[in-house]
Amino acid sequence: MGFFLETLLGGLMAGMLYSLVALGFVLIFKASGVFNFAQGAMVLFGALAMARFAEWIPGWTGIESKLVANVAAFMVAGAIMFAVAWLVERLVLRHLVNQEAATLLMATLGIAYFLEGVGQTLFGSNIYKIDIGMPKDPVIAFDQVFEGGILINKEDLIAALIAAALVALLTVFFQKTSTGRALRAVADDHQAAQSIGIPLSRIWVIVWCVAGIVALVAGMIWGSKLGVQFSLTTVALRALPVLILGGLTSVPGAIIGGLIIGVGEKLSEVYIGPLVGGGIEIWFAYVLALGFLLIRPQGLFGEKIIDRV
């Protein structure tokens, strides 16, 4: 029982991180109907910038404090993500208005390749460390209730808390601010939003900026766990089943989908994996999501798709 709960908890915390990556996808899809395959590249790009600037800034300015260096690096990386968002709108999206969804998807694949190339040219292609002072040692909880207690990885716990805080912040941003309302208006109907004077291009820049910041935070957390390297882009591929499970247009869907996928992945690896040779995590998540899709083709929280001739 203790072991089961431990696995469950681990799954939930990993799931929180998946939702964080999936959230970036959902934001962009909601506001522009673009399925952003570049989210993985953005995670890598943000993490690379963060890791390198945290290393460079103390060298340039002579600041000793790790905290200051990290905060400064985060600011610089955030500014870079803003620049990326602006450029993407300027150079790509603006020229592809009214194209089919498949074309836009391909364009984001192009952006992904480009960002991977630029990121590694600017920041190097080795493995870098992000050290934001996360505690590595696990703690034991509930040791009176279960025999041996439950091992909780502190690092995962903090990461999950950061992710949860970010999600809460985004929800407030979407619900309470006027920009958030404008974003939701654009998501509902591009034309109607434009006709009441909401500038579409600015909304796109904002939403890509937000997605960039989400990617940066995701990259920071994953990077401090696994190190910043090229394989970080595959994290995005692992977040995709979360997306189709939760529904492409739903923020709560991304979170709950993330939790389900995180738990499903861990439980399947531990309990089914040994029977078939292990390493089934990645496709099991997809098959799980597919199973859900067969019951609800729009995902758990997606908008109902109505076809009219």
């Binding site: 480009f114 190339g117 040219t121």
Partner: protein, 358 residues
């Protein structure tokens, strides 16, 4: 002047329905085939065969298959690499497990394995559409990545995880020199392209296109979506599977699952988009573009850098390749969303009137 079709009257339905109704097209295709079969093998060097021509032929075949599914039936697939893998490993198993198995039937049986796999993973397409399906097809990709890494039986219990074939021959003719490999792939490509071209002109091809353009409307006028979608998955994955078997047998020789990774799926999709969705010709253009581009960049970039006096390392080249690749894709999509095939048909249209503009 040269490309003028007035005076070419069709007096029977047969004449009206042939693949190339314009005489100049027939002559051009005939010349092209003659060049491909006779002239090229005489002139090409070993390097040219191995680095460009053979990959081009096989990738064109794969792009043809992907185009049937994505371009003609509108089912976006990111799992084409998986279908290639299934074709390759299927053919491998038939080839090494059955004593005296001839090469060509083994490859075709590999294609049939891919068909079964394609139908299985095409089943969600009956419920799920568009971008959801695109993500769902990734399930096929990751499943095959896992399967050919972990299920040792499929690898003929090879301990290293990589498998290989040797001693290829057709009816006693060995396929070992570069030119014979080229001919072998070329025959497959020409036959399959001809079949595909005819298939998309037939009733079933029209059903696919109706489903692509508007599936609800197509269902209303009596096209069965299930039959149309699954047949597109079946035909497409057969062609892609055969291409996969050729890629493994003829081009790689020895391979492991990483040869058919998700990156290959993306590349196949690029070929189809850059070449032109819903066009047989486009598959050839797209494949040529994607195969040749990295090689050209590899040659040109260090040369340009040395002109300016900068040293260009191999990692820098690979990063620059990624960047240029990405930028080109975006540029293409913005400038010519219908791909190179559209440029080709525009060119033909202009030729009809040449030298007069109207």
């Amino acid at each position: 002047m040269l490309y003028r079709e007035n005076g070419q009257f069709k007096t029977s339905y047969r004449a009206d329905q042939q693949i190339f109704p314009i005489q100049q097209d027939r002559i051009f295709i005939g010349l092209l085939l003659a060049v491909a079969f006779v002239v090229v093998p005489g002139l090409a060097s070993d390097y040219l065969f191995r680095a460009i021509l053979i990959p081009f032929l096989i990738m064109a075949l794969a792009a043809l298959g992907v185009n049937i599914l994505v371009g003609y039936c509108g089912q976006i697939s990111l799992g084409s690499g998986a279908f290639m893998a299934v074709g390759a490993y299927g053919a491998y198993n038939f080839f090494v497990r059955i004593p005296g198995m001839p090469l060509v039937p083994a490859i075709l049986l590999g294609g049939l394995c891919a068909t079964a796999f394609g139908i299985l993973f095409g089943l969600p397409s009956l419920r799920v559409k568009g971008l959801y399906l695109a993500v769902a097809t990734l399930a096929a990709q990751f499943f095959s990545d896992w399967m050919f890494l972990r299920v040792k039986w499929l690898l003929n219990d090879s301990p290293s995880g990589s498998v290989g074939v040797t001693n290829l021959q057709v009816l006693g003719w060995p396929i070992d020199s570069a030119a014979s490999r080229y001919w072998f792939c070329l025959v497959f490509l020409v036959v399959m392209a001809l079949l595909a071209k005819n298939l998309v002109r037939s009733a079933i091809g029209r059903e696919w296109m109706a489903i692509r353009d508007m599936d609800v409307a197509a269902a209303v006028i009596g096209i069965r979506p299930m039959y149309a979608k699954l047949s597109a998955f079946a035909v497409s994955s057969f062609v892609v599977g055969v291409a996969g078997a050729l890629w493994a047998f003829v081009y790689l020789g020895t391979w492991e699952p990483a040869a058919f990774s998700v990156d290959l799926s993306f590349r196949l999709l690029f070929m189809v988009i850059i070449g032109g969705l819903g066009s047989i010709m486009g598959a050839f253009f797209g494949a040529a573009f994607i195969v040749v581009l990295p090689i050209v960049l590899n040659q040109v970039l260090p040369l340009l850098a040395s002109l300016v006096g900068v040293e260009f390392s191999t990692t820098a080249v690979s990063h620059a390749e990624l960047m240029i690749f990405g930028a080109l894709i975006v540029w293409f999509l913005a400038v010519e969303p219908h791909g190179l095939a559209r440029l080709w048909s525009t060119g033909k249209q202009k030729l009809r009137l040449w030298p007069f503009p109207h």
